[in-house]
Amino acid sequence: MSSLSGLPRRIIKETEKLLQDPVPGISAVPHEDNARYFNVIIQGPDSSPYEGGTFKLELFLPDDYPMAPPKVRFLTKIFHPNIDRLGRICLDILKDKWSPALQIRTVLLSIQALLSAPNPDDPLNNEAADLWKKDERRAIETAREYIRLYASE
């Protein structure tokens, strides 16, 4: 049933590479019914507030990919200044800074980096951003609490 026919060679190549040579701490597996839809799991990076968390994401390659960026969203609830309650991600390369020379791999790496370095100055989740600025220790505690509740295996 997989719709491999008509799939651009670039997507096939990227998928192969992702499966053969995965990025440490990231797994991306295409859905068997739709090769443009990926189930992604990102491990919280070590020595970050999200260490030990397992985050599920969905990634979708639109028709005009790579001219348009992939659509990515967290499915697991997360307390992060740049990720809102719906899991939408505030990341420049997913919007106006997209370039077709970027890949699924680089996008996921950037998301992983965003977990390591939350940026409360460019917030999408105001509650988290405010707390991050006011009391970083408590913000990190809340993030860990979210992991305990939602992102533990």
């Binding site: 008509g6 651009p8 670039r10 859905h31 019914d33 739709n34 839809y37 979708f60 028709d63 719906l86």
Partner: protein, 386 residues
Amino acid sequence: MISNVQPHGTLQQVFLSLWNAIQEGESIVSCKICGETFKAPMMLQKCSHVFCSLCIRRWFDSNSICPECRIPSSAGELCKVRLVEDFVELWDTLSRKAQTVNDLVMSNPLRSDLYSNTYQPSEVVQSFYVNSSNSNTDEEGRDVPGKKSRDNKIDTPKRKQRKKKRNNVQEKDPSHKIAECPICGIHISIRLIQHHVDICLTKQSCSEENISDRVFFSGRLNGTSSNAHTEAPLESTFEKRPTTLWYKNLSDRKLKDILQYYGLSTRGDRNMLIRRHKEFVFRYNAELDSKFPRPVSSVIKDIEEWEKQQEWNSISEEALNPHLETTLSYNEEICHIAKSDFESLVQQAKKTMFKTNSNHRLSNLCLESINNEDILVFTQQEEGDN
């Protein structure tokens, strides 16, 4: 170098490293946008990054930076790089040959006899090279290994030379390449095609003026010389290179006229017409950028195929969308959160309005717009605050 290599595995290692090098080379000769080997490679003047003509033209339609380094750039700054084009061709040949050798030997344990001490590795390589042009023998070789090895053993130097010669003639002498005449479609030796096309063109210009069947230019069809960097002016089918237009100012009628002029279909809604025109402009220009441009009719055919593919994609996407349910619940979730956010905003607004006006006795009109329960809550809160 190869003759110094000791047999048994070592040759295998040499080949493997060669194979890896070729595989790694793919990323150098591949476009960062489409992931395929460059087609009509174009270089950006400022940063020297190279992309397929079609890929980069599509990108520049709505962007004005280099995809790799983000330096401001535009379609006007593209220039051809024939050297890259030639290099891609070379790599293609190299990788195909390596693939043949790989299929023939590396994955075939029955052929391990070729690594035995009785063979000079250079000879072995030589025999692969000759055999690679004959796929039937490969198949036989796999089924009947004995026969294969005998074949190799009785390869006298003379016979080998003959084989080599034949092979070289096929592989290297460009005069034996066959090309298709873009006008009448007959296959003809590339050495004679220039002459043939001239005749064809003369015939055609006498008969009818059909845009879609004329070639872009005739001067480059004899492209056997790889250092054809001297740019002859393109004899284009149309007066000038088509460009994307300021579509907002174009009526549907005018747009259809333009499409018709290029020999394109005029069916579909406005968006489709615009998309078709843009795609034609990109593809036509990319065709002009390539070493051997094809006729307009092929470009039009490609666009029809492309549209079919796009339609099919959109249908299959709807049918196969696995996260439709997710999307549905996602939408509900958005609605829910947006609703609660909106409500809290309204409440906040009411609260501030009430506070600022309460001292001056809020006008009845205003009070009526706020429902009574809210007022009760707010009044109580205010009392508490006071």
